[in-house]
């Protein structure tokens, strides 16, 4: 296996020695990433916190025996976080909940002053409605800023397949959230949802 340059290598070594400052630095560096990953994968903050905490616990156990040069610690940690998310998503499928997941708000566009606060919620809801693999590809590449090779490896797909998932996911989001795009004229081109609504009238 080719040697990998890992920006976390020194920090992981210090964590493995029980250095309290390194542990705090690792928390500052990785916990927000794990929480963001899990929150976007699961769409539930409480579950995301559990996943992030468990992923960090596994990082603590791994650090003393981490062998540098084989893989990036961040990629390994993402693998752990993703597997924990998969477990929870699988459990959800096995035990269907009575409450359906939140849907993207297709109603009238919000007031400009409220848009900043509500846009994020709409985007998160639209993201949650994407097919799981498309959502995962966008989360890993766009939000977690992993390279295409890292993301494809984590998802066990080829880079070409990853690009296809990204393109389809972004296209679906663009269509769902067309009215949020910069330069959108509300009167000129209605979002597909509103167009469909208008067509039914």
């Amino acid at each position: 296996m080719a040697l990998t340059t890992d920006p976390d290598e020194d920090l992981v070594r210090r964590v493995g020695r029980g250095d309290p400052a390194a542990i705090q630095a690792m928390v500052a560096r990785k916990l927000p990433r794990m929480l963001a990953l899990a929150n976007r994968m699961l769409g539930d903050l409480a579950e995301a916190e559990d996943v992030a905490q468990e992923a960090m616990l596994r990082a603590w156990k791994q650090a003393p025996r981490w062998k540098p040069g084989q893989a990036k610690f961040d990629t390994w940690l993402h693998r752990v976080g993703l597997n924990l998310c998969y477990d929870r998503l699988r459990r959800r499928r096995e035990v269907p909940t009575e409450t359906p997941p939140d849907r993207a708000d297709d109603g009238p566009g919000p007031d400009r002053g409220l848009m900043a606060a509500q846009t994020g919620i709409r985007v998160d809801a639209a993201l949650a409605l994407l097919p799981e693999r498309q959502r995962e590809a966008i989360i890993l590449c766009h939000y977690q800023e992993l390279t295409n090779i890292e993301a494809a490896s984590l998802m066990s797909v080829s880079v070409d397949a990853l690009e296809s998932l990204l393109s389809r996911g972004r296209r679906a989001l663009r269509q769902t959230l067309a009215d949020l795009a910069p330069g959108h004229d509300p009167g000129a081109s209605p979002s597909p949802a509103r167009a469909a609504e208008g067509g039914r009238k």
Binding site: R17, G18, A63, S164, R174
Partner: protein
């Protein structure tokens, strides 16, 4: 790079070329210079989707979660004292191991020497048997 490939990359990775595969960036930059109108239009479209994606809310780590995670490091055994204890124990085992290996070496060496001496004596007796006028005691001492 052809315009079609440039479009595929823009649609997949967005308008920021730093997010594109490293192997494609140089060719993409070259295409931007060669086809500025077409490439900027494609990047502009991709940037609109990027802008929407960037509005997604990112959860903040609460102090409670942060404290729990730091506490879990100690629970997992990551305290300097404990790590030092483990290191000392490993060093002791390592020292004991070296000592055991040294003893084994001495015993093996003694056995080997005895064996070699016996072999040499046998060879000498056999050689002496082929000679006339040599007393066994001269050879074996």
């Amino acid at each position: 790079m052809k315009v079609e490939r440039f479009q595929e990359l823009a649609e997949a990775y967005g308008a920021d070329l730093r997010r594109w595969p490293a192997t494609d960036r140089a060719a993409a930059e070259a295409l931007r210079l060669a086809e500025p109108v077409m490439s900027e239009r494609l990047l502009f479209e991709a940037a609109k989707t990027d802008a929407v994606l960037h509005t997604s809310s990112t959860p903040q780590v609460s102090m409670a979660l942060r404290d729990r995670v730091i506490a879990s490091a100690t629970a997992a055994g990551l305290s300097p004292q404990r790590v030092q204890r483990i290191a000392r124990r490993l060093a002791w085992f390592s020292g004991a191991g070296w000592a055991a290996a040294a003893c084994a070496g001495v015993v093996f060496g003694l056995n080997l020497t005895t064996q070699l001496t016996a072999d040499q004596q046998v060879d000498a007796v056999l050689y002496q048997a082929t000679l006339d006028g040599v007393d066994d005691t001269e050879v074996l001492g």
